[in-house]
């Protein structure tokens, strides 16, 4: 298009102004942007304030965990799983450990399964609290992050009491737990269940009917149910669009089939519905933990001591020659699961966390694939962002609930 720039006509300058406004502006957001929850870089094409193109670029935190998995023995890889999603490390442990147990054909004792469920739900709570705090902080509610991290400390204290670590816990072992449960731990968990509902009421009083929060989240980032399925979303992103898929209900692992809980569903599929779904999930977490504590057998083993796939208990290693030999072989050679391939997935706080292991019968996995939920969920960002306003991008990134360590692996 050519323009006559002579100052005599008014219309031409008007037309030129419109043409200039139509020009796309490419804006680079991240990778150090504070509201991208890590090192996500998003290229945005803007027309005025409207987004016409969106291209998320990931990989800034790529550490090659799958390649590392092909060089470590099965038991050595558990600490690496902590590093994928570092705000919910016990859930990552759980997914990996269950996959290896399925490959080996073993199952942890009942009491260990109940404790696994408790730790998994506590770490779901910890993850949701980080999500709520940072998501609200992105949209402008600073105080939410202070409140959420205050309650998260209670959860992390429980982890610390059990295994000494707060973030990268490495608490679960193949075949159960190798550490004893401290006698004061059930009391700490019960205290948390007692304290938390009042705290959650505080959050909801601050947010759920807040006009600013409603204006920023309602009708923003709508995902249609068909699109949610096509994009492979799982977790709260899928349930926010009204699709009932929770692995704990659909294909129960551990002992979730003995627990009575509900799966919250959204109706509109917008940011606000996903917020409501996750808030309700936090309430269900308390319900699940309470039932676990009530149903749990008072005494019993925490680890399989009979199986060759599991490290023998310390006491028998020190007292019996046979277990000392088993321990030596377990440490030096590792154990060899049968040849085959398994895929096992659990309901992570962000969606479906799947591990796919191909075993060639050696102590090292032939191929170890980590299917993280947020990597797949993040694909929907361009779908939500195109046509939205620039100011909504932080709300859209926050609502997917990503952790870049888990996206990039």
């Amino acid at each position: 298009m050519t323009f006559d720039l002579s100052p005599t006509t008014v219309n031409i300058s008007e037309e030129r102004r419109i043409a200039e406004n139509r020009r796309e502006l490419v804006l680079n957001m991240g990778p150090q942007h504070p509201s991208t929850h890590g090192v996500l870089r998003v290229l945005l094409a803007l027309e005025g304030e409207t987004i016409v193109g969106c291209d998320p670029m990931i990989g800034y935190l790529h550490r090659g965990i799958e390649k590392l998995g092909e060089t470590h023995r099965y038991s050595q890889f558990t600490p690496w799983t902590d590093r994928t999603d570092y705000v919910a490390a016990p859930l990552n442990n759980l997914g990996y450990v269950l996959t290896v147990e399925k490959l080996c054909g073993i199952e942890a004792p009942e009491r260990a399964q109940y404790w696994r469920m408790i730790f998994a739900e506590l770490s779901r709570m910890a993850s949701h609290l980080v999500w709520l705090g940072t998501h609200a902080l992105d949209i402008g509610a600073l105080s939410m992050s202070l409140y959420c991290f205050r309650e998260r400390e209670l959860v992390l204290d429980i982890f610390e009491k059990f295994c000494g670590a707060r973030l990268t816990t490495n608490m679960m072992e193949i075949g159960g737990f190798s550490r004893p449960i401290p006698p004061e731990l059930p009391g700490m968990v019960r205290d948390f269940i007692k304290i938390f509902p009042a705290m959650q009421k505080e959050y909801e009083e601050l947010l759920s009917a807040n006009p600013i929060w409603l204006a920023r989240t309602r009708g923003v980032g709508v995902i249609e149910p068909e699109a949610a399925i096509s994009y492979g979303l799982t977790g709260a992103c899928l349930r926010g669009s009204g699709i009932n898929y929770d692995i704990r209900k659909a294909n129960p692992y551990l002992l979730y089939d003995r627990i009575n809980f509900e799966v919250p569903l959204g109706t509109h599929g917008d940011v606000y519905d996903r917020y409501l779904v996750r808030m309700e999930e936090m309430r269900q977490v308390l319900k699940i933990i309470e039932q676990c504590l009530d149903q749990m057998p008072a005494d019993g083993p925490l680890s399989l001591s009979e199986s060759n796939y599991v490290i023998p208990p310390h006491k028998s290693v020190m007292t019996t020659a046979e277990d000392m030999q088993r321990h030596f072989i377990w440490v030096i050679k590792g154990f060899s699961p049968p040849k085959g391939e398994v895929y096992m997935s659990i309901e992570h706080s962000k969606g479906e966390l799947g591990y796919y292991i191909v075993s060639d019968g050696s102590p090292i996995p032939y191929r170890l694939r980590v299917r993280t939920p947020d990597f797949v969920n993040l694909q929907v960002l361009p779908y939500m962002a195109e046509g939205a306003l620039l100011a909504d991008v932080v709300a859209l990134i926050g609502t997917i609930d990503i952790v870049l360590g888990s996206v990039d692996r």
């Binding site: 990931i58 990989g59 790529h62 090659g64 799958e66 390649k67 060089t71 399925k102 490959l103 080996c104 054909g105 073993i106 199952e107 942890a108 004792p109 009942e110 399925i229 096509s230 994009y231 492979g232 979303l233 799982t234 699709i243 009932n244 898929y245 659909a250 294909n251 129960p252 692992y253 089939d257 083993p301 399989l304 001591s305 009979e306 199986s307 060759n308 046979e322 277990d323 088993r326 085959g340 391939e341 398994v342 895929y343 997935s345 479906e352 799947g354 796919y356 191909v358 060639d360 032939y366 191929r367 694939r369 299917r371 990597f375 797949v376 993040l378 694909q379 779908y383 990039d408 692996r409």
Partner: protein, 207 residues
Amino acid sequence: MSESGRTADTAGSATADPWRKGYWGPTNPDEHPAVLAIRERFPHAYIDAVNFRDEMTVRVERDSLREVAEYLRDAPDLRYTLLNDVTVVDMLQLRDDPRFDVVVQLYSIRYRVRLRLKAGVNDGQTVPSLVPVFAAANWLEREAYDMFGITFEGHPSLRRILLAEDWDEGHPLRKDYPLRGFREYIQPGFENPAPRVPSRLRRQARP
């Protein structure tokens, strides 16, 4: 401890078969509805069906991977609508031909059943992209291309995703790629490291 206790597969388990909960459908391939449907609809594409740990794996010809996936998605009695994972296994150390396996994990939300599709592919051959069928395949196939160098035909923008765009050292998850890469990594600013000199301080031997 008895000898049988050491090698027993289900030693000490609370229930005998924890995952037998209708997770992957019938264990016999001749009874599995998806396997039967693929056999009937795509006799030229079906190769075999393997069951391990109750998980059903159907191997198909790579050329018809997209048609099979589309059929599984749309068939009213199957409805494998959710694409969970697309990944690749490099079978270099296990067999000669074909070298790679493209592995597709499907899930049926309505019937709560999983299924795994596999298609063998050699280096230099292409696989039909699943993006027209499932939007979720976009990044998963980009990752497979990035890590293994498998080309997916019909993918809208097949470029690297996790590694840098100008990565020139091949595809790191292949089995012939060394763990530390082909080149020695030198930290920027440390191109000329200081020479190592023996310390004057001798470390005391531990008593």
